[in-house]
């Protein structure tokens, strides 16, 4: 067995080591879920079938996306950034395991840990208070696949952002832009189904849609048969493109490190 499963396992352990801190985060995720859900109910009362969602769909979407904030790390960031800034990344690059594979393994462990500790509370709390839309076993399996692909897309995006630190002295501006794109185009502010006209069409084609909106649609059973396959293929396409770009950028970063000494 290679080293990567161990990296994943240790990352999982690390991210489940402080259950109190995670519980605190989950509480805030839940509170925001309630506020967002109430707002969306207000809108769906005025427009009952907006974007093909009914009110239960809208509420479920809300709490599901709150539950996914942690696993998909919608606010961005990766520990790798710190290691690049401090120069510790040189150690990572000279390991016999690939940098990207290592951090992907690490990120999967992180996502799993976050899902385990922060995924439950918003969903349970939401389901207790509001009418909710649960998928069947088949839907759940499809959702698991969509979520895994969503995490891969999220990793692909954040890995590119992290590597940019090799070239940028101050990455805070880039991070801010990334945050805006991520929050807005993933459907966290308003579900993408409620985006009007062309804006909606564009938003649904961007990689951020593959992080949250697509998994949520799969959870709500909005896709079936060929539609489902198409949705998953859309996610897989973005994941492959972003991770491929990350691979090329890793090679460039390694060259830069060798030539410029960091």
């Amino acid at each position: 067995m290679g080293v990567f499963p161990w990296v994943t396992w240790f990352a999982f352990r690390r991210h489940t080591a402080y259950p109190l801190g995670s519980a605190a985060e989950a509480l805030t995720n839940t509170v925001f879920g309630f506020i967002r859900a109430s707002v969306l109910i207000g809108l769906w009362r005025a427009r009952p079938h907006l974007g093909g969602y009914d009110q239960a769909d809208a509420v479920t979407f809300c709490f599901l996306t709150q539950a996914l904030i942690g696993p998909v790390q919608i606010f961005g960031g990766m520990e790798l950034t710190q290691r690049i800034r401090s120069g510790d990344v040189a150690i990572d690059l000279y390991r016999p395991a690939g940098l990207q594979g290592w951090w992907l393994a690490d990120d999967l462990g992180r996502a799993a840990g976050s899902l385990a500790l922060r995924g439950g509370p918003p969903m349970v709390a939401g389901a207790l208070v509001f009418p909710f839309h649960w998928p069947g076993p088949g839907g759940l399996a499809a959702f698991a696949a969509a979520l895994a692909l969503g995490v891969l897309v999220s990793f692909g995006l954040r890995y590119l952002m992290a590597l940019a630190v090799f070239w940028l002295h101050d990455d805070r501006g880039l991070n801010a832009v990334a945050l805006v794109m991520s929050l807005f185009f993933s459907g966290m502010i308003v579900p993408l189904v409620a985006f009007p006209g062309t804006l909606g069409t564009v938003a649904r084609a961007l990689p951020w849609a593959a992080q949250i909106q697509v998994p949520a649609d799969v959870f709500l059973g909005k896709h079936s048969g060929a539609g489902l396959a198409g949705a998953l293929a859309f996610q897989a396409m973005w994941a492959a493109a972003l991770i491929g770009a990350g691979h090329l950028l890793t090679r460039a970063a390694r060259r830069r490190l060798v030539i410029h000494g960091g």
Partner: protein, 261 residues
């Protein structure tokens, strides 16, 4: 003292003016997202929970302005738990200035003002579009509610920080109080369940940040049926929140100094 420290930090940040300008803009855009969200909602319907787009944007503007100013003044206090965990609070305690002032001014940068830009802009655009029976009192209420809202949020920042003296890992949860409060007050409380509205009126008095004063400005009935005096209670509520926050801070600091955390 606060101003002196803030100014010194600002000068340090100003050594990279381009970066600072870009960051201010980025902060402004992040702050504007909520307003864009509200406008997207109103692309589908003229009224939500009985309120028009201009009215909700008025709520957004007053809330975001109050929260933005309080964030500039005291937002840094949310890092208290981190200082306790890393032991850096000790270094602040050996200096002759309140650790609250030191933490709040730490890394003070004009980019924090970026948040005020969308808030002020939206408020400026929403005000003339309001269908309010403007009187001198109503006009005066607008700046007054922003001021009181600022003080209430400032109290909440300090309360949230005080909690971290005792529960070091509670930062994630105290964000419900601060950021959650800021998010909530951007919307009319008619959207929310009645018990929830009672909670944010009597327990955590977020309703006095802008909701109660807005009922007066917009001349709307109170869904909870509180007496009219509630609409003018914001200054008193702000004073109470500050008093509670001050006691909490002192208690928290004493707890730290007797346990060393």
């Amino acid at each position: 003292m606060y101003a002196l420290l803030a100014w010194t930090w600002t000068r340090a940040a100003a050594q990279y003016p381009v970066s600072m300008l870009l960051l201010s803009l980025a902060t402004a855009v992040v702050g504007a997202l909520d307003a864009v969200g509200i406008m997207l909602l109103f692309a589908h319907t003229p009224r939500i929970a009985g309120f028009t787009a201009a009215e909700v944007l008025f709520l957004y503007g007053t809330s975001a302005l109050a929260f933005g100013i309080s964030d500039i003044l005291l937002g840094g206090a949310e890092r208290l738990g981190q200082h306790v965990r890393e032991g850096t609070l000790d270094a602040l305690l050996v200096r002759p200035v309140s650790p609250l002032v030191q933490i709040a001014t730490e890394d003070f940068s004009p980019r924090r003002f970026g948040k005020l830009l969308p808030a002020a802009l939206v408020l400026g655009l929403a005000l003339p579009r309001l269908d309010a029976p403007w009187t001198a009192g109503r006009v005066a209420m607008v700046p007054l509610m922003v001021a009181c809202g600022t003080v209430i949020f400032a109290g909440l920042w300090v309360l949230a920080a005080s909690l971290q003296f005792v529960l070091v890992d509670s930062h994630g949860a105290t964000k419900s109080l601060t950021y959650g409060g800021a998010f909530l007050t951007q919307y009319p409380l008619t959207l929310f369940a009645r018990d929830f509205v009672r909670g944010v009126t009597f327990a955590v008095p977020l309703a006095f940040v802008n909701w109660q004063p807005s009922l007066y400005v917009l001349d709307r009935p109170d869904p909870l049926g509180l007496p009219d005096a509630a609409r003018f209670a914001a200054p008193a509520v702000a004073a109470v929140v500050c008093a509670v926050a001050a006691v909490a801070w002192r208690t928290g600091l004493r707890h730290y100094r007797s346990t060393g955390s």
